[in-house]
């Protein structure tokens, strides 16, 4: 079974982002970039499926600037077999990404796409669902457990109020939630080995897709800042404030 895992290069989750002074976006110059944390979980899940003998090949795909090759190398060091970069400087939206992934999935005859549920930069939570729609495949989003047997994926999903289990007939798209697994750190020998693995470089035009965005960002602003309030001395003082000043209890 062939797996495809899309990986996105995003501002590292430990970075406190700053809005640019011209309000065109957030500052990314000189900022540490890493693989989207949810995508790391997806790569880990794919590698585990290969270790179990269920997956035969894992293709890591990234779409974006040249430096996305580093993100692909990280996936290769974790255990993906080869990479594809769709290189473009255009800011990509989930719809365009899904369209390009669809072409790759069809070209490569992929059986299962495992990907992060959401990228922590644009927080869209959309690409997996959109890809499944375009392919006409079923989707298992926000997965906290995935089992594959006899052409069926059994996916436990994190939903409001608890968990839900569904089955999907393969081929399918699964998107990873936080508790699906804990991604491994790549070992030094595996990082070295990853350098020898292939990364094919394509352009959006090679896939026949126009990546033009449908949304125009008019402005990016800081959220309103909440001011620190006061410290109270004890429980009695706290309740007095909540009852008489804030009037919330």
């Amino acid at each position: 079974m062939k797996l495809l895992v899309p990986v996105k290069r995003v501002v590292d989750y430990n970075v406190k982002v700053r809005v640019k002074s011209d309000h065109s976006g957030v500052e990314t110059a000189g900022v540490k970039m890493s693989m989207n944390p949810f995508d790391e979980i997806a790569v880990e899940e794919a590698v585990r499926l290969k270790e179990k003998g269920i997956a035969t090949e894992i293709i890591a795909v990234s779409l974006g600037v040249t430096q996305c090759q580093e993100t692909i190398r990280t996936a290769l060091a974790m255990g993906a077999d080869r990479g594809v970069l769709v290189e473009t400087d255009v800011g990509l939206e989930p719809l365009a990404v899904a369209k390009m992934l669809k072409v790759l999935v069809e070209r490569e005859a992929v059986d299962l796409v495992v990907m992060g549920k959401q990228a922590i930069d644009d927080d869209m939570n959309a690409t997996g669902q959109m890809l499944a729609a375009l392919l006409g495949w079923p989707q298992g989003t926000f997965a906290s457990k995935v089992e594959i047997a006899e052409g069926i994926a059994t996916v436990t999903r994190e939903v409001d109020g608890g968990l839900e289990t569904i089955t999907l007939k393969l081929p399918a798209v699964v998107t990873a939630d936080l508790r699906l697994n804990e991604p491994r750190y790549a070992s030094l020998p595996n990082i070295m080995k990853a350098r020898k693995k292939t990364i094919d470089i394509l352009k959006p035009a090679d896939l026949g897709i126009d990546p033009t965005a449908r949304l125009t960002t008019i402005a990016v602003n800081e959220p309103p800042v909440r001011k620190a309030g006061i410290k109270v001395a004890d429980v009695a003082a706290l309740l007095e404030k909540l009852r008489n000043e804030a009037k919330v209890i």
């Binding site: 957030v26 959109m130 298992g140 289990t165 949304l215 959220p223 909440r226 410290k231 919330v248 209890i249």
Partner: protein, 309 residues
């Protein structure tokens, strides 16, 4: 053209976040609601009372019983011709289904909308709420999910919508529902609660949640929440989690107990009306967003609070 609001509901009625979506729809003009499920006649009658919805479309079919993305998105797409905005609250169902609808209509979904400027311009949080983007859509139809905590819900009653039964769309057998494990609780749901008492890593274990937080929550009629640290440590189930990767809440009162205030957590609760922090570390970042801070040992403060209430 009107706005279609895909309503999320359970056995007791339309969920509160969907009434926030109805409030968002009201800013765009005429709005209709969609109830899709099995034996949902009673739910549709409740939905018809939501003010601001002129019509409730009802698809009563076992196909929609568990809100699986594949049949539900096909149904919504079959209705799309009559609407220029199709919206849903950003609940688990909305987040699962709406991007699929958007892709089928060849439009870019606009997720987690927290503000509506005009019919094609919207505000949405990015980078875990550390920035707000104003975006304009050039798509003919706008498919969106709505951040419920940013729109005051319309009341559950007061309206009188027309109920119209609609035909099901074609389904397939590519996906199937197996089971649910929903956390049982007498308390209000996190996203609908007026008061939330949330614990963090400082609670030390799950037993302390039951022993110290639950009694206070029960006296306040509050929901119980937790930080990601407390969930990851296994103190409480995942659906307690408040934060960027958990639930986004905005209650009247949020009591953060033993929560340091990681950016991740703040992203999920900083729109609460009043925030109280109880923490033994006077320098914890949570105090920077708290209206009332109480520095001290939660193991003595919580029992005191329980007694005083």
């Amino acid at each position: 053209m009107a706005t279609l609001v895909v309503l999320d509901f359970d056995a007791t009625g339309v969920k509160q976040p969907s009434r926030s979506a109805a409030a968002a729809a009201a800013k765009l003009g005429e709005a209709h609601g969609l109830i899709a499920g099995k034996s949902v006649g009673g739910i549709a009658e409740m939905a018809a009372k939501i003010p601001g919805l002129a019509k409730i479309l009802v698809a009563d079919d076992a196909l929609y019983e568990h809100a699986l993305a594949e049949p539900l998105s096909a149904l919504i797409v079959s209705l799309a011709g009559g609407y220029d905005h199709i919206i849903s609250a950003a609940t688990a169902v909305g987040k699962n289904v709406m991007p699929r609808v958007a892709a089928l209509l060849d439009v870019q979904v606009i997720s987690d909308v927290s503000g509506i400027e005009d019919a094609e311009t919207f505000i949405r949080p990015i980078f875990a709420g550390n920035a707000l983007a104003t975006v304009r859509s050039s798509d003919a139809k706008k498919v969106m999910t709505i951040r419920a905590s940013s729109f005051d819900p319309v009341p559950a009653e007061g309206g009188a919508a027309v109920i119209e039964t609609i035909a099901s769309a074609a389904g397939d057998d590519k996906s199937a529902y197996i089971s649910s494990e929903l956390s049982k609780s007498e308390r209000p749901e996190l996203t609908a609660a007026k008061i939330i008492v949330a614990g963090g890593r400082g609670m030390q274990n799950g037993e302390n949640f039951t022993k110290l937080i639950d009694p206070v929550a029960d006296k306040l009629g509050a929901a119980v929440g937790a930080s990601r640290a407390a969930v990851d440590a296994g103190f409480v189930p995942n659906d307690y989690q408040v934060g960027q990767t958990g639930k986004i809440v905005a209650p009247e009162l949020y009591l953060a107990v033993g929560i340091s205030g990681a950016i991740q957590h703040l992203a999920g609760m900083k729109d609460s009306k009043v925030i109280v922090a109880i923490n033994k570390d006077a320098d914890a970042p949570i105090f920077q967003v708290a209206d009332y801070g109480l520095v001290g040992d939660l193991f003595t403060i919580l029992p005191e609070l329980d007694k005083a209430l």
